[in-house]
């Protein structure tokens, strides 16, 4: 009965269900986390009415969005308008494939994992452009155009900073990259150049996920809600969810490349210390690092004011790109001369 085709099908169904489950859980947790972090950073309390300490707030919000009417405006391009949020979601789902959540636990171990991630994440901009264009609304279009300019330019420095790790590891395979960090994470092993590329990576992915201080695509004070101005109900919720899932994914990638993925924290020859660290399950290491990075990105959002579009492009083309190119050269020299530990 269990011929390979069936086994494959069942496997895919299980993977699909768990990815969707993870999405739902992440959406609830991250939205609540964001609101909490925001509140505390702005000397407020945050949600505290629904459930114990406001824990169920995001659940209540989700239910509210589910029962709302998902309107499609009259003048819009109906097909594209309805398609856009699903593309955003699909991109997020595809990006889950190569991520290693724990030791030997991933959906797809492919040998071009890093390339796959950079390639797929560029599709995200299509869903945003599609939403902005199909809405037939000038705010939406303006937000989408900004987002296009932003993602296309920041993809460069994100890609270059990812390349530094590829150069050091000599592989595009996520598993190889993690295994190369068994004796120390790249951020420690790679000296200052890797630190610089880590900082550039964090800045670039903050921009790529359209989060403040780079949230020009939404810019609620200028463009109401940017590309998703016309969306309501569940279709809006999908965009909203996709934003948070993308934050999770880029942080997971950052944790994998620079902070060793699920690798525990080891210090040189301290056998006893390393042993204790090995006892902590690898999934906890992975999620711990990822959530730390997510927290940092939230910290950015609630500290920095939004950039103007010209400042945004200045930052990328005049600062991040030249620096990361120079940095890549340095890292290549380090890799060839074997200066890293």
């Amino acid at each position: 009965m269990f011929n390979p085709t069936w086994a494959m099908t069942i496997e895919m169904v299980i993977a699909g269900v768990s990815v969707i489950g993870l999405f739902a859980a992440l959406g609830l947790v991250l939205v609540l986390m964001e609101r909490r972090v925001a509140a505390w950073m702005q000397i407020r309390l945050g949600p505290n009415r629904v459930g114990p300490k406001g824990m169920l707030q995001s659940l209540a919000d989700t239910v509210k969005l589910l029962v709302k009417e998902g309107m499609t405006p009259d003048g819009s391009d109906k097909f594209l308008f309805n398609l856009a949020p699903y593309i955003a979601m699909m991109v997020a789902m595809l990006l889950m494939a190569p991520i290693a959540f724990a030791k030997d636990f991933r959906l797809w171990d492919m040998n071009i994992g890093v390339l796959y991630i950079t390639a797929i994440s560029s599709i995200m901009v299509i869903s945003i452009l599609m939403a902005g264009w199909a809405s037939n609304n000038k705010y939406s279009l303006m937000g989408a155009m900004r987002s296009g300019a932003q993602i296309v330019s920041y993809e460069l420095s994100a890609g270059l900073s990812i390349l530094t790790i590829v150069v050091l590891t000599g592989s595009l395979n996520i598993t190889d990259i993690i295994n190369a960090q068994a004796d120390g994470w790249w951020i420690f092993k790679g000296h200052i150049p890797v630190l610089i590329s880590f900082v550039i990576f964090i800045i670039a992915v903050t921009a790529e996920t359209n989060r403040a201080p780079f949230d020009l695509a939404e810019a609620e004070s200028e463009l109401t809600a940017g590309f998703h101005t016309e969306y309501s109900g569940m279709k809006f919720a999908l965009f909203f969810l996709a934003e948070y899932i993308n934050v999770f994914i880029v942080c997971a990638i950052g944790a994998t490349l620079f902070l060793g993925g699920w690798m525990p924290f080891h210090i040189g020859n301290w056998e006893a210390f390393n042993h204790v660290m090995d006892y902590i399950p690898s999934s906890i290491w992975f999620f711990g690092k990822t959530f730390f990075l997510i927290f940092v990105i939230m910290w950015f959002r609630w500290t920095f004011p939004r950039l103007r579009i010209d400042q945004l492009l200045n930052l990328e083309w005049k600062y991040l790109l030249p620096i990361s190119m120079f940095n890549l050269l340095l890292v290549t020299a380090i890799a060839i001369l074997k200066w890293h530990f």
Binding site: W40, M41, I43, W299, F300
Partner: protein, 158 residues
């Protein structure tokens, strides 16, 4: 030198960002700093900032007397025509006519709480109260007569 300025720019930029993050990080870890009030749960223990201005009131003392001479300085000072002083003439015991207020009309719905009337008043007859629950079902209720019925001007105020 261009390159020196470039590098300086980067470092000063990073430094200013870190200063900002230190501040928010401090607030994130110090919950005692939280300043929001859990209104309306704490109606009884509500703490109001001194500078908060809620509405203009005419100060009455325990004998139902106030210090308003009806000089209309506040009416003239108000940029929004919020105050309307309606005067009348009282007959003093000596048989002389004396100007006094009949009605101190105050339109809360027009007031911007700018404090100019308070500053203008030569006898400090009015002040800003800290009440803020002003919502009513009918707009007419926002037009208030500030002098209490039967009140009169305090002795010795000119």
């Amino acid at each position: 030198m261009f390159i020196v300025k470039y590098i300086k720019d980067i470092f000063s930029g990073i430094k200013s960002l870190l200063v900002g993050m230190r501040r928010t990080g401090y607030y994130f870890t110090h919950h005692k700093e939280i300043i929001t009030e859990q209104y309306p749960d704490n109606r009884d223990t509500l703490v109001m900032a001194d500078r908060f201005k809620g509405e203009v009131v005419l100060i009455h003392d325990e004998h139902n007397e106030h210090a308003c001479t009806g000089c209309t300085a506040c009416e003239l000072a108000c940029p929004n025509a919020t105050i309307k002083i309606v005067t009348k003439f009282d007959i003093t015991p000596e048989g002389k006519k004396k100007k006094a207020i009949d009605k101190f009309v105050y339109h809360l719905e027009l007031c911007t709480m700018c404090n100019l009337c308070i500053v203008a008043c030569p006898t400090d007859a009015i002040k800003m109260a800290q009440t803020f629950e002003h919502s009513v079902y009918d707009r007419a209720e926002l037009t208030k007569i500030l002098n209490k019925p039967g009140s009169k001007i305090r002795e010795g105020i000119e």
